[in-house]
């Protein structure tokens, strides 16, 4: 069995707790306008690994994973390679490694069923609640995504971290934030809500591959933007970080 890997970051501190090795899978079902790793979008590219080879490579860093660290599987969308992902996750859990899955949750319920025993933290990136706006932003409907989040939340065990990207003028309006708050608040297994700041640093790659960039007129989100959103969520009981 072969998996396609874009790259491996051995010193990840921003994608889950502690120090983590972040494995970026190749391929994604969405095509988000704000994507900052658009070169991970294409399937069957990048470095080829067997699950064992990939495991051997990441396990070399395990001495740094005290204090809650471990492996984060990101992308692209890892769920685009479900069988490979499952085998890789099994190897990690056999060795008691903390696993986090950074996903958009667009996948089949059967994939969720098979993976969930091996995922400690689902880090689900939620882009929009309104389906039309979601489709505009990602070239894909959010119907399946929202259902899947609830489906994962219905399972015992795994924690869910919702990650929400603040894009000035697009995803920072008070109404949307309130709805996000309500949606998140209804999750039983919520770990926390993490706000991410939109940045334009993916622009060059868009030009390289598509010769265009959709969000040309939108500025980077800053700490003040995130502070503001956080304050709008203060009446909810869940933890908000950024």
């Amino acid at each position: 069995m072969i998996g396609y890997i874009h790259s491996i970051e051995s010193m990840g501190t921003l994608d889950g707790p502690g120090i983590r090795t972040v494995v970026f899978f190749q391929g994604c079902p969405l095509k988000c306008k704000f994507c900052h790793n658009i070169d991970t979008n294409f399937p069957k590219q990048g470095q080829e690994y067997t699950p064992e080879e990939l495991f051997k490579k990441v396990i070399k860093n395990q001495e740094y994973w005290k204090n809650g660290g471990g492996v984060t599987i990101s992308g692209g969308e890892p769920l685009m390679q479900p069988e490979f992902l499952l085998e890789f996750l099994k190897l990690l859990k056999e060795n008691n490694i903390h696993t986090a899955l950074d996903t958009c949750a667009k996948t089949s319920k059967s994939a969720i069923d098979s993976l969930s025993p091996y995922v400690d933290l689902w880090m689900i990136s939620l882009k929009e609640l309104d389906d039309v706006k979601h489709t505009e932003l990602t070239e894909s409907s959010n119907k399946e995504i929202l259902e899947n989040i609830k489906y994962i939340d219905g399972k015992k065990g795994p924690n869910i971290r919702i990650r929400f990207l603040i894009i000035p003028t697009l995803t920072d309006n008070e109404e949307l934030i309130k709805k996000i708050g309500e949606f998140v608040n209804n999750l039983k297994n919520l770990e926390k809500l993490e706000l991410l700041a939109y940045g334009t640093h993916g622009k060059d790659k868009w030009y390289e591959f598509f010769n265009l960039y959709h969000l040309e007129n939108i500025r980077d989100a800053n700490v003040q933007d995130l502070e503001k959103v956080k304050s709008q969520l203060q009446n909810f009981k869940f933890e908000v970080i950024f």
């Binding site: 491996i8 860093n61 001495e63 740094y64 994973w65 005290k66 204090n67």
Partner: protein, 749 residues
Amino acid sequence: MEAFKSGKWETEIDVRNFVHLNYVQYNGDESFLSPATQRTRKIWEKVCELIKIEQKKGILELDVNTPSTILSHNPGYIDKQNEVIVGLQADKPLKRTIKPLGGIKLVKRAAESYGFNISKEVEEIFTKYRKSHNDGVFSVYSEKHKLLRKKHILTGLPDNYSRGRIIGDYRRIPLYGVNRLIEFKQDDLKTLSKYMTDENIKLREEVFEQIKALEEIKEMAKLYGFDISNPATDSKEAVQWMYFGYLAAVKQQDGAAMSIGRLDTFLDIFFEKDLQSGKYTEEQIQEMIDDFVIKLRIVRHLRTPEYDQLFAGDPTWVTMVLGGTDLNGKHFVTKTAYRFLHTLSNLGPAPEPNLTVLWSKNLPGKWKKYCAKQSVLSSSIQYENDELMKPYYGDDYGISCCVSGMAIGKEMQFFGARCNLVKALLLAINSGKEEAITHESEYKNEGGDIIIENFAALDNQEILDFDEIWGNFVDTINWIAKQYVTLMNVIHYMHDKYYYESEQMALHDLHVKRNMAFGVAGLSVVADSLSAIKYAKVKPVWNKNGVVEKFVIEGKYPKFGNDCEKVDNIAVDVVKEFMKALRKYPTYRDSKHVLSILTITANVVYGYGTGSTPDGRKSGEPFAPGANPMHGRDHNGAIASLNSVAKLPYEDSVDGISNTFSITPSSLGKNQKEQTENLVSLLDGYFTGKGGHHLNVNVLTRETLLDAQKNPEKYPQLTIRVSGYAVLFNKLSKEQQNEVISRTFHNKM
């Protein structure tokens, strides 16, 4: 002082025994610490003002008439009424002195470059009547020694200034008092009277000089109004007595690195007693530490501008180790370890003293967090692996210079700078001839000078063949090793003869273990070059002198710093081969061969003088510092890079493997708490997990450095760690600043 626990230390010199019996561990956090007092701030501000003037002028003042000795200068003060701990190298702060025993020519040149002239009388004495270390060395050097030195294949050799790297056991003075130390030395002399062999005669003369130095320290202290004949009776005396020992050393010698050793646990014993009895408060004790650290920050030697350029400013390497554990794993962390790190808050960051935390899995968690926190805030701390070093140096060792371990008072070192290994590789390719060096595609040197005779030309001239180049490289480093060892023997024979460190050696045992410290620079360039030759196609372009002008590389090859065995093993083999070669040749005074992988900041200058290399590095481009991977070639993040360096064999480089790690705060974690915790995990992983030896930690943004380069006045105390020590960013040359800025900043994608 009453009520120390009795032990062996009372009847023989054994500071370690005293410390073990009497110290009190501290497992708490930093909340007990006292801020800088008004008095401390006032003194430090005064010093900062003087340093500002010094930076403008190059040096503040120079005494051109009086060669410095322990007793040469009258007492000096920063602010006599308010100083808690006293003593300066000359009669004024930051005033420099001359030490012509290393070599009068260099002293003269250094003075002149700052607009001073050495007095005629001094010059005459050291030209006509008194031979110097430098004269001695050059009267014996072979033609090959001189050639290797001139061609910068062997560089930074201590043949015209003091070798340094010796750490006196300054704790002996407060513990025993000078009178008792003299008695011990007189007893030593008696054991050396039976046979007047060469070695015994030498030792007897040395001990005689040591006793003389001890008498002089006593005299020097008397000038400041202290009688240090007897042991210190309280905290303040303990700090003061010990500092007098160090002060005498830096008055007698101008060693490249004059480190201070291991004081924290020892001093803490005195502090604890006085805190318990109520004699001193925490605030008063912190004042003593702050004042002492101010003194260590203003140690100065006269250096040439070239030296400053090579090493970025005025480094003195007053390296001080903190924490660590004993042989059974019991930790040595006391409140005083915190107090020393706290000076970075009370006085702001600074390169000196070179604060070095000895890391172990057995350190208390709160201490680890405090160290990490101070690192994040100041970028002024280096870390070294206690568990790795203890089997070699025991549990009462210090670090000399940057990464060199030695048992305090029981071991010393013959410092030998380093071999430019990249040039050695180019000799192997160019069949023993010096390489061509171009700068911006213009020849600086067309190369071709014969360094090694009778070296056959390559069989494979079109595409370099790994087996052939590796064979040539091993032959080359064997040839160099022989020259290197013999040259070092000359230097240290002459140093002992003409510039002996009687004061520092007076604070050692009679029979010390001597290490002969060799070094290498450019390891990652060599590893990547050999990897390119092995895994890609490297075509040399030959010039008319029959040496390679540049290399054309086709294909990809694995690079050091990505945790990839294929190339990391090459780096390991290079270190092993060089060490094996060095060990073949006998050393002066039967010293033990040791090796460091360390460049200080000289990686920039070394690179400038080295031609193009098969890894694609252009002629004149800097090497990576120490054992670091080359800039921008580590593609798998910081930990993969650390893992590559951790594979280098410590057993073949026990003089230290320097690694400098720079990360932006946001890549280390989202907030200070996370940054601190992640740094602790990183250090645990590198040292306890991977067995790495040394790590400099910088937590800075590239933007800060760029801004500091433009607006130096905004950042008077911006300190950054470079290979093995720290510097004020403003004291780096433009080229060095650029190199630091371009160096891989671990920043998440």
